[in-house]
């Protein structure tokens, strides 16, 4: 009688959590300013509305 037969795995069908391999995927974690987070869609530019300089600055 083998050791395996002496101590069978009698966990039932709803008890055996499937062992998963650990995915060591490359991750890059950055801490970024919330205001910069939307860079995922590129840096959203505001409309470039010109302001004329004051006359006394000219």
């Amino acid at each position: 009688m083998t050791e395996e037969v002496k101590k069978p795995d009698t966990r039932r069908w709803f008890e055996k959590v499937t062992p998963c391999k650990n995915l060591n995927l490359e991750r890059e974690v950055k801490f970024v300013d919330l205001s910069e987070i939307n860079k995922a869609w590129g840096k959203k530019k505001n409309m470039d509305i010109p302001i004329e300089k004051a006359d006394d600055e000219e």
């Binding site: 009688m1 037969v5 002496k6 101590k7 069978p8 009698t10 966990r11 039932r12 069908w13 709803f14 008890e15 055996k16 959590v17 499937t18 998963c20 391999k21 650990n22 995915l23 995927l25 490359e26 991750r27 890059e28 974690v29 919330l34 205001s35 987070i37 939307n38 860079k39 995922a40 869609w41 590129g42 840096k43 959203k44 505001n46 409309m47 470039d48 509305i49 010109p50 302001i51 004329e52 300089k53 004051a54 006359d55 006394d56 600055e57």
Partner: protein, 885 residues
């Protein structure tokens, strides 16, 4: 007049900042406008899908069940009382009257449901009852056999499956000259729909039986109505045999296939040419069951109780020596699960019921004198004929010296049988016959352990081995009360069964024992929370062990057992419920709800239990409910240095709108983070998590959401829209608040993809993105453009705007100063959108504004029913003040 640079309108609403903190040219609100990159176009309105509301109930979820194998659509809505209705008309047809009729009854405490489609089966989970499954209309049967007897291990019958499921009316399954038909479905059915090739002409009626779990055998259905009956002849016309859904039905294993089998017994042989060209079934939504995957499972081990020696002998279940088992001896065996049937494999060592050899002048009898006598043959066939030591044999040799001698075998080889001394007279080359006639062991008991004793479960046809003469199934009556036990101090708990025969088994018999287990879905849980289809498997979660995800075997959503079934554990050990499971590119992501400040998002790769790999994306951020996530392929994202097409998942958390690309979790709602800031009065309301939603709207290429904002709202009242082209935010102000949104395939018309929304408190379902009004209400569209002098005073001398020409209507322009929310009564402008010259596509206005402030909010608004508006670009003549004090 000086030239004003005209700037195309584009940008995002920022509500998380003070107005004067919004950068020059930004927007504090873009309401009911969609960006057009550039330009802003007023969003479309909505229309009622049906004319009569249903008790003003909130529509929690909407989902279209759309089959892949044929054109069949069902639009379901889940109401806040837990009931589910099917729409009377498929969109875009508007129903005069109420939405539809109930397909699932109300259920207290229902959550926003998860829906999925696997193999054209609709699966529904609402947190208030068992997972529900539905096969739609006229689903094809899985198997159809003509003839046979209908027992586990069936060997007879003609397979007509292909001919009744091939969509070819010219190929049929002949049922004529038969009285027994068997059909298998992958769900419990309540009707079988026959399309006939040749009608039966014999007068006959049918009885239909299902497999009953309490008796583990056939039981007649109740309420049978035979729609194929005509003039007293069954199968005489196309139609359905229908019946009342039994309460104790379960799957069984016939003709080598596991499923829900039906036995149709015809009272008289069908006419010879009768045939069936198509066979389908129907059934309502019903609770899922657990169907045996069709792969027999080895028993754990076995013990033989020797009633003479009063002791047990222990064996591996694959080799149990039952030689010489006497009438009082038991075979005990253990199983991890309760059994439906046990397969007894006798291999090459059957019980010997009879052995006989007749010689052809080549049998020689040897008188051994004081030693044993013997019988010899030149054929060498004594062993293969079944002779064994200990057998009592009879020699018949008409006219010979040893005719009708009875003796007992001492030894046997292929060519010599040795018998007792003094039995035989020497005589050579006879054509004698040697015969052993044994017993046929009759199964005498089959018991299961039920906690404190053995309970008889031997049925009338339990033994199909013929007394260990052939391999076969033992099919006991079900013992639903079977209990695990540490039998004979085996060292483990399992389900134990035993059987014995009323006769002695011959001396060289060994058997192997496998079982067909009975898997009770209630062992996983009685209340389903979420589901999803991924890589041809169905993924379920329950209220019991709520962080576990149960993964069906490939190809069948009801096979939650066997080597191809898996249990995945989300998160890091907390029992937070998995509320959503979604396919994500080639991966799977599960979201757990947030409890105590923690949730969890877990990703799996792989396609089978052997290959699943796990990555926890975040143990912190979780999700609000099942309708708060959208997964989208092909999103172009870019950084300052790179552009990538990605699959992204968006979801709602207490902490914001989050995005993941399957590796990193990021916040997307920075611009509107005030709604997720507990310090703000507009913070999303606790206790109303299941009311909020987030869904993709393909017509607007945007993620739309509904938030319950503030301390008194009870349904969504803020509707942000996240535009995927550039990540900008706008807000919808909906005349009819929505609690959910769904993409729907149109059943008619020129538009393939439609969007439908469920009313949050009015009992209506709406078609979205259609018309110019929210039903009859004008759409109040405006943008608030922020112009900031950076603390310096500016003169706003002139403004210019261009818009797309409309048949009628005006843009109202107004101004608020230094960040005020109240707009000045003067100056204002009413700017016509009507083409200056008929046919002009655009309309331009420039007017003298003459305002002075360090910050301007410029509002462009349109709020007239049955009109649209499309703002293109604006220009301002802004000048710093000389005197800037």
């Amino acid at each position: 007049m000086s030239i004003i640079p005209i700037v195309p309108l584009q940008g995002s609403t920022i509500t998380s900042k003070e107005k004067i903190s919004i950068s020059h040219g930004g927007f504090s609100m873009i309401q009911n406008y969609d960006p057009r990159f550039p330009g802003f176009e007023q969003r479309k309105g909505c229309a009622k899908h049906h004319t009569v509301a249903d008790a003003s109930l909130e529509t929690m979820t909407l989902w279209q069940f759309n089959k892949g194998s044929k054109t069949e659509r069902h639009l379901y809505r889940q109401l806040v009382d837990g009931s589910v209705q099917e729409a009377t008309d498929n969109p875009p047809t508007v129903t005069t009257g109420a939405y539809g009729s109930d397909v699932l009854a109300a259920a207290s405490g229902a959550l926003p449901a998860a829906w999925s489609n696997m193999n054209d089966l609709a699966i529904f989970s609402d947190g208030a009852r068992q997972h529900q499954i539905y096969g739609g209309t006229d689903r094809k049967v899985g198997a159809f056999f003509v003839g046979g007897i209908g027992t586990i291990g069936e060997s007879d019958g003609v397979d007509g499956t292909r001919n009744v499921t091939d969509d070819d009316a010219s190929t049929t399954a002949t049922v004529g000259s038969n009285t027994l038909l068997f059909a298998m479905t992958d769900l419990p059915a309540t009707s079988l729909k026959f399309t006939l090739g040749v009608a039966n002409t014999t007068t006959a009626t049918v009885t239909v039986s299902y497999w009953d779990k309490t008796t583990n055998t056939w039981a007649a259905v109740s309420g049978l109505a035979d729609g194929t009956l005509a003039s007293g002849k069954t199968l005489a016309q196309d139609g359905s045999m229908s019946w009342t859904a039994p309460t104790n039905e379960r799957s069984t294993y016939l003709f080598g296939q596991s499923g829900f089998w039906y036995k149709i017994v015809v009272s008289a042989s069908l006419s010879a040419t009768a045939s069936v060209s198509a066979l389908a079934f129907n059934a309502p939504f019903q609770a899922i069951q657990n169907v045996f995957d069709g792969v027999l499972v080895d028993a754990i081990e076995a013990k033989i109780w020797n009633s003479t020696q009063l002791r047990y002998y222990q064996y591996a279940a694959g080799f149990v020596d039952v030689s010489n088992l006497t009438a009082g001896d038991y075979v005990y065996f253990s199983s991890i699960e309760p059994l439906m049937a046990a397969y007894i494999d006798i291999g090459a060592t059957p019980h010997i019921k009879k052995a006989t050899v007749t010689g052809s002048s080549n049998i020689t009898f040897v008188d051994g004198g004081t030693s044993y006598d013997s019988i010899q043959t030149t054929d060498g066939n004594f062993l293969t004929a079944g002779f064994e030591e200990g057998q009592t044999i009879v020699v018949t040799d008409s006219g010979g010296s040893n005719d009708t001698k009875t003796g007992k075998i001492v030894r046997v080889t292929s060519n010599t049988i040795t018998v007792q001394t003094g039995l035989l007279v020497a005589q050579a080359n006879r054509s004698a016959t040697i015969t052993y006639t044994g017993t046929t062991p009759i199964l005498n008991a089959f018991d299961g352990w039920t906690g404190s004793g053995w309970t008889d479960c031997m049925g009338a046809s339990t033994d199909n081995t013929g007394g260990l003469i052939q391999s076969g199934y033992m099919i006991p009556d079900t013992i639903l009360s079977v209990q695990p036990t540490d039998f004979d101090q085996s060292g483990y708990h399992a389900f134990w069964y035993r059987f014995k025969f009323g006769h002695t088994i011959s001396r060289k018999v060994s058997i192997g024992i496998q079982i067909i287990p009975f898997y009770d879905i209630d062992d996983l849980g009685k209340v389903g929370i979420s589901n999803n289809t991924f890589k041809n498997r169905e993924f379920y979660t329950f209220t019991a062990y709520p962080e576990y995800i149960y993964v069906s075997a490939s190809g069948n959503p009801l096979m939650l057992n066997g080597a191809d079934y898996a249990i995945l554990e989300a998160g890091t050990g907390r029992n937070n419920r998995v509320r959503v499971v979604k396919s994500f590119h080639n991966e799977l992501i599960a979201w757990q709800e947030e409890k105590g400040g923690e949730g969890g998002v877990t990703l799996w790769e792989g396609f089978s239990p052997e290959t699943f790999g796990k990555l926890i994306l975040t143990p912190q951020i979780g999700i609000l409910n099942a309708k708060s996530v959208a997964v989208l392929d092909g999103i172009l994202t870019s950084t300052e240095t790179d552009s990538k097409i990605k699959t992204l998942a968006f979801w709602l958390s207490h902490y914001g709108v989050f995005i993941t690309d399957g590796r990193v979790v990021s916040l997307a709602s920075g611009d509107i983070q005030n709604y997720f800031d507990p310090k703000k009065s507009e913070y999303i309301r606790a206790g109303y998590e299941d009311k909020m939603w987030l869904t993709y709207d393909s017509a607007r290429y945007a993620i739309r959401m509904g938030l319950v904002s503030g301390s008194s709202a009870t349904v969504p009242n803020i509707f942000p829209v996240f535009h995927l082209t550039d990540g900008s935010w706008t807000f919808d102000n909906l005349a009819q608040g929505l609690s959910c949104l769904a993409e729907v395939e149109a059943a008619s018309g020129a538009v393939y993809s439609l969007q439908y929304g469920g009313g949050s408190s009015d009992g209506f379902v709406y078609r979205l993105n259609t018309g110019l009004n929210d039903v009859d209400t004008a759409i109040n569209a405006y943008i608030d453009h922020e112009l900031d002098g950076g603390g310096n005073y500016l003169q706003l001398r002139d403004t210019v705007i261009r818009c797309k020409s409309q048949a009628a209507g005006n843009i109202a322009q107004s101004f608020a100063l230094v960040g005020n929310s109240t707009f000045e009564t003067s100056p204002t402008a009413t700017l016509s959108m009507v083409a200056e010259t008929s046919g002009d596509p655009y309309r331009r206005h420039r007017w003298r504004t003459n305002l002075r402030s360090n910050h301007f909010t410029v509002r462009y608004s349109h709020n007239t029913a049955s009109e649209s508006s499309y703002l293109l670009d604006v220009g301002y003549r802004l000048k710093q003040e000389d005197n800037n004090r």
